[in-house]
Amino acid sequence: MSTDLEKYLKENRNKLDVESPDDGSIWKGISTGLKKKEGRKTGGRVILMRLRNIAAIVLIPLLAGYVINDIIGDITLGRKITLASIDSKLGQKEKDYKKLIRYKKQEIGSFDEIDNVIIRELIEELNRLDTIYNTVMDDLNKNGYNEKIVNTIFDTYEKKIRILELIILETNKPENNENEENIAL
């Protein structure tokens, strides 16, 4: 009994699709649903673009200020003791670090839009490193040469380079697309 029926169902599976949907009505619902979905996406995009513009207005002067401060910082602070005045090799090493940092900053400066939360945090981290650097340099000027201080200065330079590289990476990252809801299939 069942064998014949099962065989029939298997062999005639495609012929069993006998009903025709009301395409007009169903499609109307689909297109309305798609428009609503698109509207939500567009609305999201508009908000995202506005946020991006606001972020750009805030971040560009912030970064520019950071670069200017870093260039003129040592001059305005009038520090007498520098690493170069302690040892020419240390001076050369510091010069190389500073040069590399300057290049990295120029690379970042060439981008038009810097509007990313992660970059903002990285810039804050750079500012914290600057504070450490200034404190250590003040110590050096007050107390004279100390190996620990010198190591901290170079450590600060290395960290700054790594953070600048992260900023470059983050700036070059393609934009993420909006995430769709995840439906398990």
Binding site: M1, S2, D4, L5, E6, Y8, L9, K10, E11, N12, R13, K15, L16, D17, V18, E19, S20, P21, D22, D23, S25, I26, W27, G29, I30, S31, G33, L34, K37, E38, E180, E181, I183, L185
Partner: protein
């Protein structure tokens, strides 16, 4: 040379870009098949139309996730069936206990050959009780194993098998009656 794949691929790309004409073409390519799958499970025109709308909206939104355009039909079918099952489970369909159901022997065997009108069979399937109809559709027509059917419907594998046997017997009786009457 078969260009069907390329053609479908182009339609899919356009659909992903939000081209409404391409989306309608894709809908038309599969609407009848998907509608018939859904109505056999749900046995309700309005619910079927709702599920079809929901499924195509979901599919268009997730089309970029489809890795193989040749799998479009089965991918779409899976979305439709998943939505139907969610609906069925939401309605708490009772898979009545038929452990003690006495299945009839094969004495009332009748010939069911290819000359039988598929419309009669389709109609008879829709007349089956909800629970066993869903199992029959999933196992016999959509090729899901009993283990998979059980998982999808939240029932045991043995319940799926029993419901299936019952569905076959009921369908057999209905068809016998319909064919002899006709």
């Amino acid at each position: 040379m078969d260009n069907t794949g390329d053609h479908t691929g182009r339609i899919i790309e356009k659909c992903i870009d939000g081209d409404i004409k391409a989306q309608f073409i894709l809908y038309k390519m599969y609407s009848k098949a998907m509608y018939n799958i859904a109505i056999r499970i749900l046995n309700n025109k309005m619910d079927t139309e709702d599920i079809l709308q929901e499924s195509f909206i979901t599919a268009f939104g997730r089309l970029s996730e489809l890795n193989n355009e040749k799998a479009l039909g089965s991918w779409l079918k899976r979305i439709v069936i998943n939505n139907c099952i969610s609906h069925v489970r939401g309605n708490r369909i009772n898979f009545e206990d038929i452990e003690d159901y006495k299945f009839e022997s094969g004495d009332d065997h009748f010939e069911l050959d290819d000359s039988v009108d598929p419309t009669i069979v389709h109609k008879a399937i829709k007349e089956l009780p909800d629970g066993c109809r869903t199992v029959l559709v999933l196992h016999a027509l959509e090729n899901y194993k009993h283990r998979e059917v059980a998982e999808m419907l939240g029932i045991s594998e043995s319940t799926s098998k029993t419901q299936y046997r019952r569905a076959l017997q009921l369908l057999n009786n209905k068809l016998k009656h319909k064919i002899y009457v006709n």
